[in-house]
Symmetry: C2
Subunit: 449 residues, 2 copies
Amino acid sequence: MQRKRILLNTEDMPRQWYNMIPDVPGGLAPPMDPETRKPMGPEKLAPIFPMGLLEQEASGERWIDIPEEVLEVLSIWRPSPLIRASALEAALGTKAHIYYKYEGVSPAGSHKVNTAVAQAYYNKREGVKRLSTETGAGQWGSALSFAAQKFGLACMVYMVRCSFEQKPYRKSMMKTWGADIIPSPSDATRSGRAVLERDPDCPGSLGIAISEAVEDAALREDTKYALGSVLNHVLLHQSVVGLEAKKQLELAGEKTPHLVVGCCGGGSNYAGLMAPFVPDRLSGEPIRFLGVEPTACPTLTRGKLAYDYGDEARQTPLLYMFTLGHDFVPPSIHAGGLRYHGMAPIVSALVRDEIIEPVGVHQIPCFEAGVLFAKTEGIIPAPEANHAIRCVIDEAIRDKDKPQTILFNLSGHGHLDLASYDKYFAGQLEDYAYPKDAIERSMAALPEV
Amino acid sequence: MQRKRILLNTEDMPRQWYNMIPDVPGGLAPPMDPETRKPMGPEKLAPIFPMGLLEQEASGERWIDIPEEVLEVLSIWRPSPLIRASALEAALGTKAHIYYKYEGVSPAGSHKVNTAVAQAYYNKREGVKRLSTETGAGQWGSALSFAAQKFGLACMVYMVRCSFEQKPYRKSMMKTWGADIIPSPSDATRSGRAVLERDPDCPGSLGIAISEAVEDAALREDTKYALGSVLNHVLLHQSVVGLEAKKQLELAGEKTPHLVVGCCGGGSNYAGLMAPFVPDRLSGEPIRFLGVEPTACPTLTRGKLAYDYGDEARQTPLLYMFTLGHDFVPPSIHAGGLRYHGMAPIVSALVRDEIIEPVGVHQIPCFEAGVLFAKTEGIIPAPEANHAIRCVIDEAIRDKDKPQTILFNLSGHGHLDLASYDKYFAGQLEDYAYPKDAIERSMAALPEV
């Protein structure tokens, strides 16, 4: 019988993270100070981030050691399995070899815990007592809740209201790990109150929740802020995913994959998977990198590469990234983790440099793909991961006789997203098209730099 | 760094099941025909079970081959990991080595899928088109839903009403795999209607749901019935759990475990884990087997070893087992899988023969144990599994300096049980004591044989 899962042991865990910054062909544009509109150094962010992370944010080193304390916690679930999707292949009748890296085995059920643990560690090391953060679908909030309690830190989570209402079990999970949770926009912060005054029924967005969490951290001496995606150090921490997958593909007897596929919300999931394969592409391997996003929040396929704020209330530095405008509020699709207006500067630069091909997919075909995956491979995927699966299926059946190796990241399970599957079965899901008018409005508000 | 997870590869899967029947020191009493009150052969059950399973039910062979088609589906998630609970050990300050076999990695999230796949296979092989079954917490119903669709069978699930209401996501999961679900007692069957007439608000019980599912199968030519625990063939299929764990403990450098612990509802979870260790005990190894049950449904600690029906409506054969009486309706504890009035005849006989020591635990201390486990080991356990964890913690701290090896089965994750954790945090859980009066009443109704 074919080996279904390619496993690594605790001692095979990567000991260093892989930093993609030096690989970006056209380089990265620096963050800008929102007041002076001039390049800003990391020290300016010291009130909200610990120095250990700010150093990584600007590092030019390709390899950065993972602290022992971080490895110890990661070893609870890492290395994660690489699984051959043999049952899906059979159902599709394709000759493609499809492999998925399964990050749903982590405590909170997604890749997010990889960076949460590292961030909690560096904060703890520098004497921080409490972390504040935002969460969309709840994956990041629960990841940070787990990591914070592992290092004895308190944790305050601002959760995007539409997800807060759709996913009550995410709250229970965060509570189990000892965190406090509040729906955003909330009246606990100045920025939240400002939004509620304009729109009391606002479903919230990651941009708004970030504003609230940043404000919370800026106002409290004992608190720093933690971000679950977008920033360079977050992408760095996710590189363990790709490093393990690369080793596992070799163990499976596969050469370099032809396709590397992942969903893109803020970009860290996909960047983590692709990171160690980028040097292969740069040295001539014909790897195609497909970054998949919802048509309802089409940052890479319809956005603009420009300086923009990371949050709705314009408190963050200006990042050079693909963006739909910092005040864009996307439709309430069930892939809450893909409802962000911007995209990681590294991922954005790799799209600009034509290393990553962006792909947009609709909500309903994503659920169709997820259900086929559940029926064949047994795992019910998170709605975010369904975006990658949709794209993988499309590629695998485009030319069924093509022997190709496809690698994708099954970034999380959907056990806490089953209400969205219910809506899919009941025919109650909307299949949001490109929200053209809303995007045109928010794009008009891009800052001038 | 210590190896956290002890992993096996696809090719290391057990190729044979281990049958405990020949190991029971005092032997097994035969099932009795409810009409004649005389021992009955398996052929009498042919209308509701396929012959392949009935042969296993009465087999005296120690080893039975696992069909290739079953192995192929099991390989989707098996072998499951054996995990060293090093973080829990540290939190307890114990010198015990604690290992858990984690069955939550299966598609439906528990050990139940191990037998569901085998049962679906034998039914398919004999031309059955549709399976009917009952489910308590929903673990078994979702396991059978997955397995049935893997072999192209329809699946009808009668779900105990109190669980149906507590666990809506279990329904979504079953729907994802294509099953039909109805709350029990229902008006779809004669036995369901009879209960509803007596008690329209009846929260249901496994005994009632079994009556409904058996009736469904008995009345339809294309349908057979599938049971998720209790019967010998079900316990047989679960032996893969113990067989893998035994091999994994050896790989970890451990000798025979001192304690083997598991929760007991119908008995298959625990029997599966302990099976291959029983011969070691019989040949003199001082292994203690602890079977843990809720004080609210104290079959082994307060029940009687007697012939009784497996279901409320007295349709099944009489089994010689520990029982609280077939019409006992236990309190609505959140460990729905442990709300059964009886216990597998094999497990019952091993309690009688003093191989298994039964242990009763209360609901609230179980949740306390589960939360500590989630905070340390990262996995949020199913309420059923919390019973085993409570017992393991108690044993590990009784004499912290005692170097002992403890093995237990973490039979499932609690991702679809988070509402019960919410109630625990809100102080809304009841800590049901021994329901003395109800048990005395139901025990008075035991049949005379």
